[in-house]
Structure formats: C-alpha cells, structure tokens
Symmetry: C2
C-alpha cells in the first residue's frame, strides 16, 4: 500500500533523505532559475498572446504541483516557447488577442490539456508519445523556432502583423514595413545583439579575465535581466513610451488569482483537438529533457507518472490565471547545472516568482515589449538546427522524407498541420516498408551451423531445398506479398522438393497471414512441394498451435534452420 | 517494347492461342452467365437506387473493357451487391433517389472510382488494398450482407422505408408496418422461399432423379430466371400492379446510351472520398475472387494491371449510363464453373446482355420489384458468415477486436464508417503490438549452436553475459521501450560485463532507434558494460555503417550469436 502511494507521490521518495546539503544546492539553483524565469515568463506570455503577468502565474502553482507529483528531480515546469506558440495559434481561431474571451480560452485550453495528460497517465497511455519520432521532433522544433523568431520581429520593428505560418508572417511584416518605429527598432536590435553576445562572447571573456566557471555561468544567465533593467531604465528616463515604444504597462501586483476556466460545450469542442496536440508535444518535450537529465545522475523517470505530474501542473495553471505549461528545456538545464538536487528547488523558485509577482511588477511598467521579443528570439534561435536533414539523408530516405515534410509543412502551413503531417507520414512510411518485406534466400555458412543470405556470404545450399528467411513480421499488409513471392520463386524450379521458411525474424503471424500460409501450404502441396518452418519463436508457435495449420502442414517445424537443412538434404550433394 | 505492350494489353497473351475448343467453352459459359446476369443486374440497379436498365448498361461496356485489359481469365465484371450498397449510401447524401441528379451523380461516382483505380494501377499502388485485413473484410462482408438483406425487406413487404444502417432500417420498417401490401408480401416471400429451395434443395433432387451434374448446375443457376418469369406472368395475368404491387415498369428498349458524368467541382468534392472507398473495396473483392480462380488453374494475376482493367471498366460504366462496378464473386464463380477459358466469355456475355437490353426489356414491364429483392436477399445471405468471430477469437484478440468492431460499426453506423474504422483499428492494433516488443533472454541450446529463450528451453548461459533477442524491428515507436528495458535489466546485475543484442529479428533500425542504441551504448559504457551486436542482417548493417555508431560501439558485431557467446564467455563456467 505504502509502495503504491509512493509510486503516485514521488515526493515521499526524496523528502526522507532531505538534508542541509541538498537544501543549499536547491536554494542556489532556485535563485538562478528565478532570475532567469522572470523575463522568460513575461516573454512567453507575450508569445502566447496573453498579458505579461499570466507568464508569472503560469510558473508558480504548476511548479509546486509538479514538485509534488513528478518523477524528475531537475525538471522546471512552466511556459515554454513551442507550447506558447501552439497556444497562440489555437486561441487565435477562437477570440481576438487582448479580449476577455482570449484569456478565458487559455484557461480552458490549460484545463483540457491537464485533463488529457492526467487521463493518459492513469490509463498508462504514455507510449502514444513514441509516435513522434526523433526526426519529426527535430524538424518540428527547428521549424517552430523559425516561426517563433519571425513572429517576434514585429515587436522589434514596432509594427503590427500576425500570422500562423512563415509566408503569412513575412507578408504581414512586408506590408507594414512603412510603420517601423525606429526607436523601438534601435532598442530591440540592441537588446538582441547584446543577448547574442552574452550567449556567445561574454562567457569566454569572463573566464579569460579570471572569473570562476560557476560565476561566469551565473553572470551569463543574468544577461536577460540586465537587458530588461537597462532598456526599462532608458524608456523611463527618456519618456520613450510617448514616442510609440510599446511597453508592458500596468501589471497587477498580486499573487496568482483563483480563476475558473470556461466550460461551455462549444469552446471545449473547439479546443479539445488542439489540447490533445499540445499535451502530446508538451509531454514529448518534457520527457526528453527529464530523461536526458536523469541519465546524467543515473536516476529513473516513470513516463506514466510524468503524465500525472504534468497533468496536475496544467490543471494548476488553469485555476490560477495561467496557460498551458510543460517541462522546458532551457530552464531545466539551468536548474540542473545550477545544482538542483530535488524538486524542492522548483518549489523555492516558485516562491521567488511569487515574491516577484507581488513586489517587482511595478518596476516593469516601462519594460519595452521589444526587449522581451529579443529574449525570445535569442532563446529560440538556439533551437534551430538543420543538421538533422543531413544526418537523416545519409541514414535513411524515409526518415529524411518525414523530417523534410515536417519542416516544410510547419513553416508553410503552421505548427499544427506540420507536426500532425510528420506523425502521419512517419507511421505511413514505416508501414509501407513492412508491406514489401526483405526476403533472403539463405544457405549454410561453411564450418558453422549458421545460415545467411546466399547473395552476401559464401554458403552451402541444396538444389532440392529452398530456404527463405522472411525479414518481417507477417500480418495483413504483407500477407499477399509473401504468397506472390513464394509462388514466383517456386514456379519453374523443377528439382525443388522442400521449401523451408526460416521464421527467426517473424515476430507475429496474424490471422490474415495465417490464411496466406495455409494457402501457400495447399498450393505447394498441389505442386508436390513440402512446406517446412524453422526457428519459430515461442509466442508465434503458441498461436499457431491454436489452429489447424500445423496439422495440415505438409512438412515439419524444425527448432533450427540447421536441423531442417540436415534432415532434408539429400545424402549426396 | 512488345513485351511492354503485352503487359498492358493482356488480351495479346491469350488471343494468339484462341481456337475452336476455347471458343465453345467460352460460348457455353457466356450463355449461362447471361441468363444469371439479367435478373441480377436489374436487382443491383434497384439496390443502388437506380432504374433497372442501369444494371444492364453497367454490365455491357465494362465487361468488354475488362476483357481487353484485365489479367483474370474468369472474372466477370459488373454491378455487385456491396458496391451497389455503397453507391446507394453515398448518393443518398447527394440527391433523392429517382431524380436526374441522382443518376448523374452515379455516373460521376463511377468516373471518379475508375480514375482512382487507374491512377493506383499506373502508380503501382495496389499494395494499399492490403491494409484491408482478411478479418476486417470478412466482418465487413457479413455485416454488409445483413444490411443489404434488411434494406430489401421493404420491397418484399411492399412498404416505403430507408436507412443506411441496421437501426435506421429496422426502425423504418417498424413504423411503416401498417402499410404492408399483402399481395406483394405473398409474391416476395414466395419468390424468396423458392430461391432458397433452388439453392439448397433442388440440386440434390435433380441429381437423385438422374440428371447430370452439369445440367443440374445450369438448372440451379436458372432459378432466378424462373422466379422472374413466373412472378411477372402472375402480375400481368391478374393485373396485380393495380393492387399496389410495385413493378419495374417501362424500361427503354435500347443499347447503352452515351452519357457524360457531371464534373461540377462541388459534386466531385463531395464524392471523391466515397469514390476512394468504393475503389479500394471493389478492388479487394475483385482481386480476391480473381486470385482464388487463377490459383485453381495455375494462372497469375497482376494486381497493378487488375487496377487498370477495373479502372477502365468503371470509366466505361461512367460514359454508358452505368454506376460503379467491380469483379463480382458469384458471377465470376459461375463463369468459371461453366467453363469459361478466356476473357472472351465475358465479351460474349456482354453481347448477350446487349441483346437482352434491346429485345427483352418490354417483357419485364410487369416484373415485380419484390422478385428482384428476393434474388438479392438470397444472394447476400450466403455471404453472411459469423465463423470469423470464433476463428479470430481463438487465434488472436487483436484480430477479433478488429473484426468485431467492423461488424458492429457497419451494422450500427453504416458501411462507410464500419470499414474505415476496421482499417484504422487494425493498423493501430498492429502498431500498438510493435510498441512493446517481445524481448527474450537467450541461452545456448545444449549440443547445438542454436540460441533460444531461457524461459522455454534448457539452455546454457554465462552470468557475465546478458544475451537479449529483440523480437521486433526497432523504430521510433519502440526505441524508448528498448532503452528502458535494457537499463532495467542491467541495473543491479553486478557481475554483468557484456550485453549482446541478438538482431536476428530486427529487420529495420530507423534513425530514432539508432539514437536510442547510441544512448544505450554510452550509458552502458558509463557502467563499465560492453555492448555487442550479433546476427545483424545485411540491409540493417549497410545502414549502420553509414553512421558513427559502429566505431563508437564499445563491443563488437558478431556474425552469429554462437560466435559471440564463444568469444565472450569466461574460460571456466
């Protein structure tokens, strides 16, 4: 019983061994993460089309709930770029940004997403996420990064434009190019350049000046805070908000409010499919990060429990003025690098953000939106990586096709179409490959009991015996192919007396395939040829025994191909 | 060049050897088929919701085109029950039965279906039909048979009712039960009983009376003609059409007209998906029959050329007042049994039907619709066969689930939903099975070089070596499962020094799985455990060589598991 409770409340596993050392590690990590999260949370709220404070709210309660229920010790849960983009793309079809309906729909979306994740966890459906293949994920992340960066350019330029895909975004920017606010552009471009430099140039410089690696690291993470501070001060000092520089403006000085999602049937109906997509993509991003970090410390992640933790986090976001959240890559890595030992680090960061929400919000009144856009652009461009194209091209054309289609469709038609098409295409390509299985004619490798392809190895064969190794499970999609292949192979071969199907690679024989095997057996019998099987695996054999096939079989079932060959070969070859 | 032409014009293969003997066989078969086809064609037109003559038209030009282009020597192409039902279900959403729009839409549906089949043939997409598994087809045919029989009951009862699925049909019959026309019911029930008796009771009787088997067979096939003749004569003699008995009425006395399908974008858009479904189902029915018959005479069917032949037949139907057609089961079997030697038999039957269309149509003016309904009911009930449920239950729960879902959804929600759900479900269940592959720990079978599951066989193992046989291709949907499995298996096993993955059943390693293998290799390296592979197939090895994986591998790739075990085992075990 206690084991079961512990399974569903992982906090019980680490809380018992909590001590001063883990506490100090967690506290330092929390401080660094809080500093990084303040601008990032504001920025992702902007990306999702929501007021800045929603980003802070979405980072507080969700972190706490995940700390209670999640299995990763370093994962930091909150708004992330791709999910915020998906949120904006979804909500844009429901209501106009800035309206009450928009914010209410964000709560409903978070609620649905949480409910779906929770249900997937309770019904142990975590395997569904596996249908997003690595190449599809890479392509999707790269294309999303480009779309996100393009969507933020308007803030840097100080113009108004919108769109869900690259052509729309570029067209929008192009038509409004005359409205550029030059002061905004200078501020935004300056902040972007500064942040790029912080990422690429500052750390080596600090290290060269003799700073410790840890200090240099912390200084680097504080880059966005410095950009926020300086640009806010400049806008305030020179009254630039009256020159058309758009600012964050008044942010309520409060803890996360209690909010109730809108459960109207119409809204739920419109959001349930996007919520499913957001859940699965969020889960995949989160579990990938969690597993990478856990591997480094030999810890284990339980995917189904992760679903429960993320589900609870999203429900938390729904009831406290947030929007869909998940375990983010950059924040989790920072948390891990800064020395977080347990989920308590996340809880401390939540406290830090709560203090920020109450105490620091007046200070960001004059924060220019261009600065937030700059932090987003610099963050997401680091995700853009086209090397997957080269790698998949050299490895497998099917993988390459899936990744290219994902990238092009995401850029051209938006994130939802892109990722759905990627998944469907990779499933289809996988199935297609299995419809025309590789079938190798095998012979005995001299001096061994091992059988290999006659085209690739020096092997011994017998003209009266055809030994075929079928390199695929037999099921409805390839059952007919096997029939055709064997008829073609045997027809016209007069000396053939025995056909041995080597089943070492046949992991399943479904009913359609069984019927094909029965047809093959009957047809070969009419031709005076016996059919044998060899190396049939246990689970397949169990199933074959339940039907008449084995008793109707004209030949035998041999334990190994070697046994079959020895028993069937003529005395003199 | 000539070879290529012959490939696309199979008529060139058999026309050269045509002689008096094949001619006489073909002529007799054509006569029998013509007699059978007249009532059947009229009846299936009725089932499709079209005027009776459309059935004759759909049997003339399509047969001729198939004879020219198809590869089966005995297939008889024309209206069939399931396709006629699908046609009625589709067109019912477009226009009301009996309107001009309805007949025009039937032409468009035939045209689209023909174009799709032709395109599938030219692009060699015949493999798509394989995704209809045998159990799904069986379930679908059985459920369709029930729906078709139910849809014909209204003609037997002389009432009006409609519906696409069993609940609708039964509800329609129930609410109109008060309108029963008793004379129609007596005629219809009598015809049904007579036809059942012809099928089951008459042939043994004739044989017992000393008739030859062939003659008895022909007499049996003529049963529907006798029913048509007698009931028509009764209706005419007693003036029953004035008593409310619905009759076929005036049928134009003419050869098939030249018709042009309606190509309006709106109509094409509405029909393209149903046309795809009709094409695939029609193709599957046709190729199953063709292959069964070809197998009996050791002939070959070329699936892609079959698509071209059926595509041309449907285009022919579209331009000559027909509706979607395919190779029918019962008519083809009759054709074959009657001794058809070449597709010329089909051409002769077309001539016979053309003569009927010109000369016999006035004679069927008083033919009661109830008689046609009786022929349909008797024909389709022979297709109903629930034994697939028992067979699949005992063999595999996944197959059983697919067939049960197909039957229930077809009965409950109609043929289109039913068959689509069956296909999607069987693909999903197949994929689901591959996400949690069977992994067997193997050991050496004593006295051989063969390795089998330690749980099923007496085998020799070494505590320092874990040998795992992975019974599935490795791809994105199970890559993570493998990682988890190996980490779980190795963790805590202190004496383990080597892990050997036996790849005899791994037919593919995609990029996602390769990344998992790389992760496993790195993780095991950290634990001081070497990773080896054995029995990697040629195609998989070719691909692995293109990446760095093999050079990073801590262990070796062995030709056979036996080699691996011998090389790695300790001197003293």
């Amino acid at each position: 019983m206690y084991r079961k409770i512990r399974k569903y409340l992982p906090i019980l596993n680490w809380a018992r061994t909590y001590n001063r050392e883990t506490l100090s590690g967690d506290l330092i990590a929390a401080l660094i993460v809080t500093i990084m999260l303040i601008p990032q949370s504001l920025a992702y709220a902007l990306l999702a089309g929501l007021p800045a404070e929603a980003g802070l709210y979405a980072s507080i309660v969700p972190i706490l709930l995940y700390a209670l229920l999640g299995t990763s010790r370093a994962l930091a849960v909150g708004p992330v770029a791709v999910i915020s983009l998906l949120t904006a793309a979804t909500l844009g079809n429901i209501a106009a940004q800035g309206t009450m309906g928009y914010a209410a729909a964000a709560l409903t979306l978070a609620f649905l997403s949480g409910a779906i994740l929770l249900a997937m966890g309770l019904f142990r459906l975590g395997f569904l996420a596996n249908f997003l293949s690595h190449p599809v994920i890479s392509g999707f992340i790269t294309a999303s990064g480009i779309i996100i960066a393009a969507s933020q350019l308007k803030h840097i330029l100080g113009i108004t434009a919108s769109g869900d895909n690259l052509p729309e975004l570029l067209h929008g920017l192009w038509t409004h190019l005359g409205d550029i606010n030059w002061i905004t552009l200078i501020l935004g471009a300056g902040a972007t350049a500064f942040l790029f430099w912080v990422r690429k140039g500052m750390k080596p410089l600090l290290l060269a000046r003799g700073l410790g690696a840890r200090t240099a690291d912390i200084a680097t993470k504080a880059g966005p805070v410095a950009a926020v501070f300086v640009t806010t001060a400049v806008v305030w000092a020179f009254g630039l908000s009256e020159q058309g520089v758009r600012i964050v403006g008044a942010v309520p000085q409060a803890l996360p409010p209690f909010t109730l999602p809108d459960f109207s049937l119409e809204l739920v109906g419109a959001l349930v499919v996007p919520a499913l997509l957001i859940s699965i993509i969020g889960f995949v991003e989160s579990i990938s990060v969690a597993q990478t970090l856990a591997a480094k410390k030999r810890q284990r992640i339980d995917p189904d429990q992760e679903l429960i933790g993320l589900g609870a986090a999203n429900l938390g976001a729904a009831f406290t003025g947030g929007f869909p959240v998940t375990g983010g890559f950059s924040r989790s890595v920072v948390n891990f690098d800064a020395g977080a030992e347990t989920p308590a680090a996340g809880a401390f960061a939540a406290v830090g953000l709560a203090i920020a929400a109450v105490a620091l919000t007046p200070l960001i009144y004059f924060l220019p939106q261009a600065t937030l856009a700059a932090t987003i652009i610099v963050a997401v461009l680091s995700l853009v990586d086209f090397s997957i194209l080269k790698r998949s091209w050299s490895y497998s054309k099917a993988d390459f096709t899936a990744v290219l289609a994902t990238i092009l469709l995401t850029l051209g038609l938006g994130v939802e179409v892109g990722v759905s098409a990627g998944v469907i295409l990779s499933v289809f390509l996988h199935l297609y490959k299995t419809t025309r299985p590789h079938i190798a004619e095998v012979g005995l490798v001299r001096g061994s009991e091992h059988f290999r392809n006659i085209k690739r190895h020096e092997v011994e064969t017998d003209p009266a015996i055809i030994s075929l190794r079928i390199d695929e499970s037999l099921y409805f999609a390839n059952a007919r192919f096997l029939e055709d292949y064997i008829y073609d192979r045997v027809a016209g071969e007069t000396p053939v007396r025995d056909v041995v199907l080597m089943f070492s690679a046949v992991n399943e024989v479904d009913l359609s395939a069984l019927e094909s095997l029965e047809a093959i057996n009957t047809r070969l019998k009419d031709m005076g040829v016996r059919l044998h099987l060899s190396e049939v695996k246990g689970p397949v054999m169990d199933r074959l025994r339940r039907q008449d096939f084995l008793s109707d079989l004209t030949g035998q079932v041999f334990l190994s191909q070697y046994d079959a060959f020895m028993a069937l070969r003529r005395a003199a070859v």
